[in-house]
Every structure is written in structure tokens, then in C-alpha cells.
């Protein structure tokens, strides 16, 4: 029964997310499955934004206060759509394929479903129990549930000491858990374990659809979705109550829709990218770096645009930055108010003053840590090997900076560069290298996507020759 209650909470937020998405997608460019994959994250993200406002206004959290603004927002957007209707165009990918699936396609679809089912199983048979799950995220969710809200002076009050260490962490993940507790009416950390697997499943659904949008054949899209689903470290983090896979989901959606917008300029892609980029800032502190990388990639798009398009690209760039700042600002304000006088050393700006020339010699432990990840089959299967081969092939074919690939190359390159720079600067490199595998999760879907489009290029090239 607990799971049914929790499932109802997820269905309600997804349904509201779906309605909201329909109002955004006025030209009906998104398919139903793709829409559902987005709706779950959108629903949870909007709920987190609403709860952020409630916290800032000092209003209690309860199911009415959380859902009423969401419903009101949808109603207002619905009225706006009625007043300003928009002509509906054909679905971008044409009619959905009704072709019978081949045995191989059925195999990979079955394997993906198996992975999703397994993640649900592993997640739901345990309560919250891993370090960060009970120490940080779950502890915060439990605290705000018992306090019936998030008082801005929370960390000045007697509270669980682990939450003080992470006082400046964003709140989406504790808010999502708190939403479940408010919906079911009592605290139960078995119920909130349902959330992680839904992020995992949504990520795979969206990832598959984006692969189809870049014209990958159904079989290949299924293979690469299976690759992502079967990466052990990726699906482990869907069930352990950590926030890294959630950040991976939001960043994957935000960047890949931006990439789609670079390719064909459809407004809905830009809107989705803006909303999901802002939502990454509600998940983890590392999102700030990832957002900066998206901004730099967008800037490179503006600079690479033809001179006649550069003006409109620049306007879109300004709009993107303005909207991302506007939508993520409430979380930064909340973090500011709740964590005043508390500094998280891991992301402290003071670290930059600690750089010494001898830090450059740290490159060997950094390279060692990276190669351990790249060739760590137990964690990543063959993702690292496949990535290196794809990057080498792209380099050899001189396509790394082609129109089609350059923005992915820039983004992935900048992420690696930013991580390495951070390790160079940080006080204790070994301490910060320890969670490296978790940092990889944040952009793992991008890496698999990169491999997929290089594969597609190779396949097309093979056919032509």
C-alpha cells in the first residue's frame, strides 16, 4: 500500500508536469513517450521551485500549498493558450513508427526493461540507508517534514549535524522526498525510494527519443539506450538515494535539447533546455559548473553562426542566460539565506587562492584516477574504451569540430578541463578525487550520446563507401 500511495504521488506530479509540457509544446513537436520522460522531471522540478518559494515566504509545506500553485500556473497558462492559440504543425518525426520490431530490437528493448525493473526492485526492497542518503539528503527531507517546512534559520537550530556540513547544497532532492511524505501523510523512507528509479527510467526514455531525433535507427537507438541503462555505476546510483543520477538526468535533458536546438532551431528545444538547465541548479552545487559549460558552449554556437544568423543567435543566448538566472535565482536565494555563515569547503571560492605552482605535479595522481575510471570495467563496462575509440575515430576523420559534433566536443572537453583544473587547485587532491566516479555520472549520458553519433557517422560513411 505504501508503494501505491507513493506511486499516486509520482503520477500526480507527472500528470501536472505533462499538462505543463503540453502548454509549452504548443506546436506538438514532442511525442507522448518523450513527453512522459520529460514530465516526471518537469513535475518534480516545478514542485521544487514552488517549495523554494514557500520556504522563502515562510509558508508551511503541505500538499495543498505545494500543488495549488502548480495547478494555478497550469490553469493560467491554459487560459493564455486559449487567448493566443497557435497553429499546430505536423509531428517532427512524422507518424510514429508502427513497424514490427525485429528480434534484435526486442532483445535490447527487453534488456532495457529488465534494467529498469531491476533498479525498481533493488530500490524498493530497502529503506534509505547509504551514506549521503541518510546523512544529507534523507536527513534534510526528514527534518523539513517534521518541521512542516524549511525555516530559513534551520541550521542555527538544533538539527542533524550532517545536514549542517552540506547546508549550502540545493534542495530539489530533499524537497521531492518531502513531497512524497506530504502526499502520503506520514514519514516513510521506503516510499521515497520510488523516486530514484523513476529518474532512471525517465532519463532512458528521453535519451532514446533524443537519439531518434538525431535520426539514429530504432535498433541503434535501442542499443545505445541499453548501453546507458546497463552501465553498473549508473544504475546503482538510481537506487541508493544519492542525487548524482538526478543531476545526470537534468543535465542530460538540458544539454541535449540545447544541442537539438543548435541543429534545427525549434523553439521548444530551447525552452526545455532553459527550464532543465535552471533545474540542475536545484539539484547539486556541481550544477553551477555544468551550467557555466552550457553557457560557454552556447557562446561558441553564437560565434560559429553565420553572420546573417548571428544576431538572432545572440538574442537567444541572452534570453537563455536571463531565463536560467531568473528561474534558478530562488534556489540561490534560499541557499544564501539558509546557509549564511556556513561554508562548504569543497566548493569554497577560497580554494582558488590556494593554488601553488607545485600543484602542477599533481597531474600524475589525477591521470591515474582518470585511467582507473576510464578502464574500470566493473563500474563503467566498456564506456571509457568506447569513448576513447570514438574520440580517436572522430579525430582521425577530422570531424571532432564539424558542425554536427563540435558543440558536444566542446562541452565534454570543457567538463574534463574544469574537473582537472579543480583538482589542481583544491587543497587535498586525494580527498576530492575520491568522488570522481560520481562526477562522471553527471555527464555520462552526454558521453554515450557522443559515442552514438560518432557510430552513426561511421555507419553512414561505411554505406557511402
Amino acid at each position: 500500500m505504501i508503494y501505491l500511495h507513493a506511486l499516486s504521488a509520482v503520477l500526480v506530479s507527472t500528470f501536472l508536469g505533462f499538462l505543463f509540457l503540453q502548454l509549452l509544446d504548443r506546436e506538438r513537436k514532442l511525442g507522448v513517450m518523450e513527453g512522459l520522460g520529460l514530465s516526471y522531471g518537469l513535475g518534480m522540478g516545478v514542485i521544487a521551485i514552488i517549495m523554494t518559494f514557500l520556504a522563502l515566504a515562510g509558508i508551511h509545506f503541505n500538499i495543498f500549498n505545494i500543488l495549488a500553485p502548480f495547478i494555478l500556473m497550469i490553469a493560467l497558462a491554459g487560459i493564455f493558450n486559449k487567448i493566443f492559440p497557435m497553429s499546430r504543425k505536423e509531428h517532427l518525426t512524422g507518424k510514429p513508427e508502427r513497424m514490427k520490431m525485429s528480434k534484435l530490437e526486442l532483445f535490447f528493448l527487453g534488456a532495457v526493461i529488465f534494467e529498469i525493473a531491476f533498479v525498481f526492485f533493488v530500490s524498493l526492497i530497502k529503506p534509505m540507508e547509504s551514506w549521503d542518503a541518510v546523512g544529507h539528503w534523507g536527513a534534510k527531507a526528514k527534518t523539513i517534514y517534521f518541521l512542516k517546512g524549511l525555516p530559513l534559520d534551520l541550521f542555527s537550530r538544533p538539527c542533524i549535524e550532517y545536514t549542517v556540513i552540506t547546508a549550502d547544497y540545493p534542495w530539489l532532492w530533499p524537497f521531492s522526498q518531502d513531497y512524497i511524505y506530504n502526499f502520503i501523510g506520514f514519514f516513510d523512507d521506503f516510499a521515497s525510494k520510488i523516486l530514484g528509479p523513476f529518474f532512471f527510467a525517465s532519463c532512458l526514455v528521453v535519451f532514446y527519443n533524443i537519439l531518434r531525433r538525431v535520426k539514429l535507427k530504432r535498433l541503434y537507438a535501442l542499443i545505445f539506450t541499453f548501453f546507458l541503462a546497463s552501465i553498473p555505476h549508473f544504475n546503482n546510483f538510481a537506487s541508493n538515494g544519492y542525487a548524482d543520477l538526478i543531476l545526470g538526468y537534468y543535465y542530460c535533458v538540458s544539454f541535449l535539447y540545447l544541442y537539438l536546438w543548435f541543429r534545427n532551431n525549434d523553439r521548444i528545444y530551447l525552452f526545455l533546455s532553459i527550464i532543465f538547465t535552471a533545474m540542475t541548479c536545484y539539484v547539486k552545487c556541481e550544477a553551477l559548473l555544468l551550467t557555466l559549460i552550457s553557457v560557454l558552449t552556447f557562446l561558441s554556437f553564437v560565434l560559429c553562426s553565420k553572420s546573417e544568423n548571428r544576431g538572432s543567435a545572440f538574442k537567444a543566448f541572452i534570453f537563455y542566460i536571463f531565463m536560467v538566472v531568473l528561474l534558478s535565482l530562488p534556489m540561490f536565494l534560499l541557499k544564501h539565506f539558509t546557509s549564511a555563515n556556513i561554508t562548504n569547503q569543497a566548493v569554497s571560492i577560497k580554494l582558488f587562492s590556494e593554488f601553488r605552482l607545485q600543484n602542477l605535479f599533481r597531474i600524475s595522481p589525477i591521470i591515474y584516477a582518470y585511467q582507473k575510471q576510464l578502464f574500470g570495467v566493473k563500474y563503467w563496462n566498456l564506456t571509457g574504451v568506447l569513448f576513447l575509440i570514438s574520440a580517436f575515430l572522430a579525430y582521425r576523420r577530422k570531424i571532432l569540430f564539424n558542425k554536427e559534433f563540435r558543440f558536444l566536443t566542446i562541452a565534454i572537453g570543457l567538463i574534463f578541463l574544469a574537473h582537472i583544473s579543480f583538482f589542481m587547485i583544491s587543497k587535498d587532491v586525494r580527498q576530492y578525487l575520491a568522488p570522481l566516479s560520481r562526477m562522471f555520472l553527471h555527464f555520462l549520458p552526454l558521453v554515450v550520446f557522443f559515442i552514438a553519433i560518432i557510430f552513426q557517422h561511421e555507419e553512414t560513411r561505411g554505406k557511402q563507401s
Binding site: K126, M128, V134, G135, A139, P158, I160, Y162, F190, L382
Partner: protein, 130 residues
């Protein structure tokens, strides 16, 4: 293209290998037996398996023996042990504090503190002082 096909086969082989291994390896926590016991257990039993029987029993004992919102100190669990955040999380809204009303003693037989008296006893090793 050939290399992608080779990797696809290697990938699936590794996937099958690790999936099966996670079910049958004895040392691995994620064994089939572990999952089976979790599936069979009720809610409390699941938490007991995950936390460890002794710790969960102690946590339940503490929760039922002092009022919600009380402050406490824990003796007998190392700071860097996963047991510590699990216990602290479980006992919330009671808070671990610097000036505690209760001292929770876990597997530390004979522990005493000046001015504190035995408040509740789970067994010889684990008890609550006030």
C-alpha cells in the same frame, strides 16, 4: 564499424557476467540470498537486515525509551562508521547534541559517566544513561 560490433559483443558479455555475478557471488552484498531475505522480510525486518540486526534493535530501543525531541550523545560507534548517520537519521526528531540529556551506549559494557545513572537497559552491552 567492425570495432563497434566487437565492443557490442564484449559489452553484452560483460553485462551478463556482472549481472549473474552480482546474484551468485557469496562475498558480494548483493547476493541472491540477500535479496531473497529482503523480499521475505516485513518493513521492520528489511530495515534490520540493512542496518544490521544489533544496531536496529538498539535504535528501536532508544526510540521507544526516550521522548521525541530529546538530545543525546552516542558512545560506542565510530564517527566515520555508516552506523552513525543511520542511527542519527533514525532517531530524528531527537538530536545528537553537545549538552545531551541522554547518553546512548552501544556495545560498550561497563561504560559509566560521573553524575549519570542507568535510565534504560537493552542488554549488558547496550543501554541508555541519563
Amino acid at each position: 564499424m567492425k570495432i563497434f560490433k566487437i565492443i557490442l559483443i564484449a559489452w553484452i558479455t560483460l553485462w551478463v557476467f556482472f549481472t549473474i555475478k552480482s546474484f551468485v557471488t557469496e562475498k558480494d552484498k548483493s547476493t541472491f540470498k540477500h535479496y531473497a531475505s529482503l523480499v521475505r522480510a516485513d518493513w521492520e525486518g528489511k530495515r534490520a537486515i540493512v542496518y544490521g540486526q544489533d544496531l536496529y534493535e538498539f535504535a528501536k530501543f532508544c526510540k521507544s525509551n526516550f521522548p521525541d525531541g530529546a538530545s543525546y550523545q552516542i558512545i560506542g560507534i565510530q564517527e566515520d562508521s555508516i552506523d552513525m548517520p543511520r542511527l542519527v537519521y533514525y532517531l530524528y526528531p531527537s538530536i545528537r547534541g553537545h549538552d545531551p540529556e541522554f547518553i546512548l551506549v552501544y556495545k560498550k559494557p561497563g561504560f559509566s559517566k560521573e553524575g549519570a545513572y542507568l535510565y534504560a537497559l537493552l542488554n549488558k552491552e547496550s543501554f541508555i544513561l541519563k
